[in-house]
């Protein structure tokens, strides 16, 4: 019984953390675009005259979205039309739960992982849920019964499934170096050190090519600006063309949740997850000989803070890319996916295998 309550609390806390992060990603996006375009950005929302340079803006945005009219056009295909926003937000949020935010703790004599789904097949779970998220795009486009919506849905589906291949194939290289499907175990294996204990054995040092491929393919899967052909704000608007009010808001939130998911996965696979260099379960062990003992709870808190810092650096980078580059053309996009990323990721797998054979 205590176990069930503990799990429920964990689910609520971690998803609340994820949704709050998503709210502040929207604020960061507005601020970052403002800096790039030499503006000040959103800073008007206030509580009791307290503005804090836009700190309350995301809440105001969300509240405004709640009070907008939710109009269902009469010509839509109702089941698909209603299902699409639900599918996209659910299958964007659930994989976030599989990412560990700190090392597992012992609770009631059992191991209590600090990720919502402490599954031992986490990688496969994430890949399968990501594939299901495509249905949100195709249902939305088809259900709208709008020519541009259908076009956006088709393009979005083709793009998403093309880049999913590259995501999966680049992760195979990581799985060869860290042979486990458990995300917590993968993060554990990155807490080792080489070159006399100075360089941490993170995925980005062992699999640099896979890291680049994963990042590009993930950004394309995200359908944001360098790869935003399905949406194309200035051309066809995209698969959520006929949605209004909070149903559009759900697509919008799902979009930002995918940024969070991509940043969290990149951190977990390539940047050592929650590992601060030289921090072990019982405290710091520095390569120059010193050590610093810490209690397990403090270590978990430090790990959580480290994870968040790495996450925000990645989110900042992703938003920077979004506000820097112009859009690809559709044939260039598919060429990039099938003619460069897929052969390169297969090449990466073979090179990794060859190096491992030689070292062995």
């Amino acid at each position: 019984m205590e176990w069930v309550i503990a799990v429920a609390v964990k689910v609520i806390v971690i998803f609340t953390w994820a949704l709050l992060t998503v709210l502040y990603i929207t604020l960061l996006e507005r601020k970052e675009s403002a800096v790039i375009q030499d503006r000040i950005g959103a800073n008007r929302a206030s509580i009791l005259g307290l503005r804090l340079n836009g700190f309350f803006q995301p809440y105001a945005d969300a509240l405004k979205m709640f009070f907008k009219e939710d109009y269902t056009p009469p010509f839509v295909d109702k089941p698909f039309y209603y299902l699409a926003p639900l599918v996209s937000i659910v299958f964007a949020l659930i994989p976030v739960g599989a990412v560990p935010v700190a090392d597992s703790i012992g609770l009631f004599g059992r191991k209590f992982p600090l990720s919502v789904i402490g599954s031992n097949v986490g990688v496969v779970l994430i890949l399968s849920l990501l594939s299901l998220a495509v249905y949100g795009v195709i249902f939305g486009g088809y259900g709208s019964r709008n020519k541009y919506g259908v076009l956006g849905g088709m393009r979005g589906t083709a793009q998403a499934i093309s880049y999913e291949v590259a995501i999966g194939l680049s992760l195979v290289g990581v799985l060869m170096v860290f042979p486990s499907l458990d995300l917590n175990e993968i993060v554990h294996l990155q807490n080792r050190y080489i070159l006399g204990g100075w360089v941490p054995l993170w995925g980005i040092f062992l699999q640099p090519l896979a890291a680049v491929l994963f990042l590009i393919a993930g950004m394309a899967e995200n359908k944001r600006v360098p790869f935003d052909i399905p949406e194309g704000e200035s051309e066809i608007i995209g698969y959520f063309l006929e949605y209004s009010g909070m149903k559009f808001g759900m697509f919008f939130v799902a979009d930002f949740v995918e940024i969070l998911l991509l940043a969290a996965l990149f951190t977990t696979f390539f940047l050592g997850g929650y590992n601060l260099p030289w921090l072990f379960t019982e405290g710091f062990h520095f390569p120059w000989g010193g050590s610093l003992a810490m209690s397990p709870i403090i270590v978990r808190i430090v790990q959580f803070v480290t994870f968040n810092i790495k996450l925000w650096i990645m989110i900042w980078f992703l938003l920077l890319v979004r506000w820097t580059y112009p859009r690809y053309r559709f044939d260039q996009l598919m060429d990039l996916g099938w003619k460069s990323l897929v052969p390169l990721s297969i090449f990466n797998i073979l090179i990794t295998a060859a190096v491992m054979v030689v070292i062995r």
Binding site: V4, V7, V11, I12, F15, L19, F67, K68, E69, D70, Y71, P73, P74, F75, L86, I89, V90, I94, G97, V116, I117, S119, V123, N146, K147, V150, M154, T157, A158, I161, E164, V165, G168, L169, V172, G173, L175, M176, P179, S180, L241, G245, M246, K247, M250, F330, D331, M334, W338, K339, V342, P343, I346, I349, L350, A353, A354, M356, V357, R360
Partner: protein
């Protein structure tokens, strides 16, 4: 159990978002809202065409091939350390066949998006 709980929680959040617009939002109707949104221009043809470009279908087939390949590759990657040399040789042969398929599709023009 964790998966069940998180599905329940996420579904609660998404349903509350789903119905909030109906509950809180205003309701105003007019004739132009009933038309498909095409930037204010009269829709040229009412029906959405049922047929679509066969290219998308070819891409979907290629995706299936590579996704099944991925399903083979993940256990291969996990078991790689048991006998690296044998696993490497097997994978070179396997990837040669798969890449052959990709290059066949490439040369047939299935990856070319005509203008």
């Amino acid at each position: 159990m964790e998966l069940l709980f998180s599905f329940v929680f996420v579904l609660l959040i998404s349903f509350s978002m789903f119905f909030s617009g109906k509950v809180f939002g205003p309701r105003k109707d007019n004739a132009s809202k009933k038309e498909p949104f095409e930037c204010g221009v009269e829709p040229l043809q009412k029906e959405v065409p049922k047929n679509y470009s066969v290219h998308y279908f070819k891409i979907a087939i290629l995706f299936l091939i590579f996704d099944i390949e991925l399903a083979f590759l993940i256990p291969w990657a996990l078991a790689f350390r048991k006998n690296p040399f044998l696993f490497f040789v097997v994978m070179v042969i396997f990837q040669a066949f798969v890449l052959l398929a990709l290059f066949y599709a490439w040369k047939k023009g299935d990856l070319k998006w005509g203008i």
